[in-house]
């Protein structure tokens, strides 16, 4: 199977560790993963800030770069949801604006083969025990677009539960948004920060050392809040936990 890693622009630029973890994990599971060098951004920030038309060339480019692969895997719930939920909508809107079917047709092929990482592991590869080792107390925050957009459900938790040494503790109010919300974080900083603080406080109440999520954008906000609040907790992307093994542990 020709599998492409769609890392996302945020991870590429700020969180290469997550990308390396995905490569390590998938390779370990026998997947031959490719990173098409021409990939950039899915257009989510443009779209969600009200720049749908500017997001269209990015979506077309995405389709162009990834169209030839059998599966596209991304370690981001929100970028996965952008492709799966919003690309079809962009096509519909273009049609409604009298611009014909071209955009819808261009984007259609990539939509069903784009998978968020945990979906790909559980649904496509059919594994929940990925042979990981991570001897820490962890709590999991389901990010909104993964939870409500993609419907990831229990997949991430099942993967974490199978990790050797990992103690998974429930996060109170887990399904509440952390307050990141892309440009929301800077357009409504007071509310965003208050939501972030509440999320961090409830994570702290679990006694976990690590808050895990499947989206680095939310982790950037949560982690940044943790640092300001001087908690002892760390934010870690789920890919990095799943990539960690006894031989090569993530510290």
């Amino acid at each position: 199977m020709r599998v492409a890693l769609f890392l996302t622009c945020v991870n590429d630029t700020l969180y290469p560790d997550t990308g390396r973890a995905v490569v390590k994990l998938l390779t370990r599971l026998g997947v031959d993963v490719d990173f098409p060098m021409d990939q950039t951004c899915c257009g989510q920030a443009h779209y969600n800030t009200g720049y749908r038309h500017q997001a269209e060339p990015l979506a077309r480019k995405f389709s162009d770069v990834f169209g030839g692969y059998e599966a596209i895997v991304t370690p981001s719930g929100s970028c996965g949801a952008m492709v799966r939920e919003l690309y079809p909508r962009m096509g519909e809107r273009a049609r409604a604006e009298g611009r014909g079917d071209t955009l819808a047709r261009t984007l259609a092929p990539v939509v069903p083969k784009t998978y968020e990482l945990t979906e790909f592991l559980v649904d496509v590869l059919g594994v929940t025990d990925v042979g990981a080792y991570y001897p820490h107390k962890v709590t999991y925050h389901p990010t909104c677009h993964g939870l409500r957009g993609l419907g990831l459900g229990e997949r991430p938790r099942r993967l974490l539960q199978a990790v050797k040494g990992l103690e998974l503790v429930e996060l109170p109010g887990a399904e509440e948004c952390c307050g990141f919300g892309g440009t929301f974080a800077v357009k409504n900083p007071d509310v965003s920060a208050a939501m972030g603080r509440d999320k961090v406080r409830s994570a702290e109440s679990t006694g976990a050392e690590v808050l895990c999520a499947a989206d680095n954008s939310c982790l950037m906000h949560i982690g940044g809040t943790m640092a300001r609040l001087r908690t002892g907790m760390r934010p870690v992307h789920i890919a990095e936990i799943l990539a960690s093994t006894e031989e090569e542990p993530l510290v």
Partner: protein, 535 residues
């Protein structure tokens, strides 16, 4: 809409105070979390909830699609049942009509059933200006009215008040409006309810005119439906001789059978009740000779921006709303910003998509409402008529940022982009260009990575909005794509030129292969020096 809200500051500014008001935050958190949990339980009991939700959506969409036909049918049925139908294009016209109708009775006071529509048009203020006093009879509306306050929630307008505050308002203000509160009133719910009951009872028995809204209007029969849980509505709808109902044109359902769906979904969504306590239905005045009820009935149908909203393909779904307020109760932004920050009688997620459509995006507050959301989607998930609120929010952001065609008072006009978005537009264009030119993007990433030691820990200007409460992420030594190329996808892994590790740890506290944790860096400290220490 009501003049009460004119000149509201933009949402972020209005929310600023609420966020830092500990009492308000406490009241809202307690109230919304309680009802949120109850709603979920009530909904989970119903095995065909998804089908009911879909049915509600379809009934509303069908009705809105043929609204012209159903409105005429409704007028005919109401008229045939002895009522009189009036049409109001906007708030002023509706207020003029109602004021005229009250004056014609010779009365100077009216009792009111809680109604969003009359609040939307600012009816109480309009009546007051003409010497007519309107008494709110819903408990929470009474609290708001006595406290000279504004409602902050659709269903529980005084949700921002706690028991102690309510006791103080009753003790101090009731005597101004009628029967005073009993001496030694405490803040126990039973005592507060009894005080309200006694205060309101004399008004019910005296009033000759009642004013209501309606949750539904059945086109087929001309029947109006009010759903409430205190019994005050039943009093207002049956005791006075004249009843005036002010209702938005989107409240129509075609037939009685359609009520079957909403009378299941509305109570469970709003108050988490299996069945609504007081459901009053009346059809004109035809049986007033033999039964209880008003002998004169007027229905004032208001448009006030609804037809314009209906013209918008994406935005029109907001008109499906049955005002259950489930979206408010589940909204993390509402919980922290409070209802008043939305600058409208429609707060929360539904307000954020309804107000900028009914009123247009011209004012500061209305242009800021589409951004008052993290797009977490909790509102869409609970909405009993499946309004995709995040979709409409993004659509309205587009309208604010880019302008475009809208319908205003029935005419197509092209809006200019709102002020204050020029820098954002330029940034989006630049990013769009870079993202379609990977080579340029890569140069930018590399430049950023190479200069990472000199990046500040806090940002000036708009960036301060981030760094005031959150540490900035530290740029890694190299972007992923450089690592991929350098190591052939990890197959020839080896150290990076500038320090042996690809990543020197993040200021947001994440771990790094070297185990260093840059978290908790003090404000104003620079990234220069020490970044690679410990290696």
């Amino acid at each position: 809409m009501s003049g009460t809200f004119v000149g509201m500051p933009a949402f972020p500014k209005a929310a600023h105070e609420a966020v830092h008001n500990a009492t308000l935050r406490g009241n809202l958190r307690h109230a919304t979390h309680t009802i949120r949990a109850k709603r979920e339980k009530a909904v989970l009991e119903v095995s065909d909830w998804a089908e009911l939700r879909e049915a509600g959506k379809r009934i509303k969409d069908h009705t809105l699609r043929h609204l012209d036909r159903y409105l005429v049918q409704l007028e005919e049925s109401v008229t045939a049942a002895g009522g009189t139908v009036h049409w109001a294009a906007d708030a002023d016209e509706a207020n003029r009509i109602v004021t005229y109708l009250v004056k014609a009775t010779g009365e100077t006071e009216v009792v009111k059933v809680k109604s969003m529509a009359t609040q939307e048009i600012g009816l109480n203020e309009a009546l007051e200006a003409e010497g007519i006093r309107a008494y709110e009879t819903d408990l929470a509306e009474l609290i708001v009215q006595l406290g000279k306050d504004r409602p902050s929630h659709i269903l529980v307008p005084a949700i921002h008040r706690n028991r102690g505050e309510i006791r103080d308002i009753f003790a101090k203000e009731m005597s101004e409006w009628g029967r005073p509160a009993p001496d030694g009133l405490t803040d126990t719910p039973a005592e507060l309810a009894e005080a309200a009951r006694l205060h309101l009872r004399e008004k019910f028995l005296r009033a000759k005119v009642g004013i209501s809204g309606a949750n539904f209007m059945v086109a087929d029969t001309g029947t109006l439906v009010v759903v409430e849980s205190e019994g005050n509505g039943r009093m207002c709808l049956t005791l006075p001789e004249t009843l005036i109902s002010v209702v938005g044109i989107e409240k129509i359902v075609p037939t009685w059978q359609d009520l079957e769906v909403f009378l299941q979904t509305l109570p469970r969504s709003s108050t988490a009740e299996r069945m609504n306590p007081y459901t009053s239905m009346w059809t004109g005045t035809t049986d007033s000779g033999t039964a209880d009820g008003p002998s004169t009935f007027h229905l004032v149908l208001i448009d006030n921006g609804r037809t314009d909203t209906l013209a918008d393909e994406v935005g029109r779904q907001a008109l499906r709303c049955i005002r259950c307020s489930a979206c408010l109760n589940v909204c993390p932004v509402y919980e922290r910003a409070g209802g008043h920050a939305y600058g409208s009688v429609y707060p929360g997620p539904i307000g954020a998509i309804l107000s900028p459509q009914l009123r247009g995006t011209g004012s500061e507050i209305d242009a800021s409402l589409p951004y008052a959301s993290s797009l977490c989607g909790a509102c869409y998930e609970v909405c009993p008529v499946a309004i995709d609120i995040p979709e409409v929010l993004v659509h309205l952001r587009e309208r604010v940022a880019q302008g475009g065609q809208v319908t205003e008072k029935g005419a197509k006009v092209v809006l200019k982009p709102a002020k204050g978005h020029a820098a954002e537009r330029a940034a989006m264009r630049a990013a769009g260009w870079a993202f379609t030119h990977p080579a340029a993007l890569r140069t930018g990433q590399r430049l950023a990575s190479r200069t990472r030691r000199f990046h500040p820990r806090t940002l000036p200007g708009p960036g301060m909005a981030w760094s005031a409460s959150r540490a900035l992420p530290t740029l890694p030594a190299e972007p992923f794509r450089d690592w991929w190329q350098r190591t052939n996808g990890g197959r020839t892994e080896q150290g990076v030129a500038d320090g042996g590790r690809a990543d020197g740890g993040h200021a947001d506290g994440r771990p790094s292969p070297s185990g260093r944790d840059g978290g908790g860096r003090a404000n104003g400290e620079w990234a220069g020096g020490g970044e690679d220490s410990g290696k």
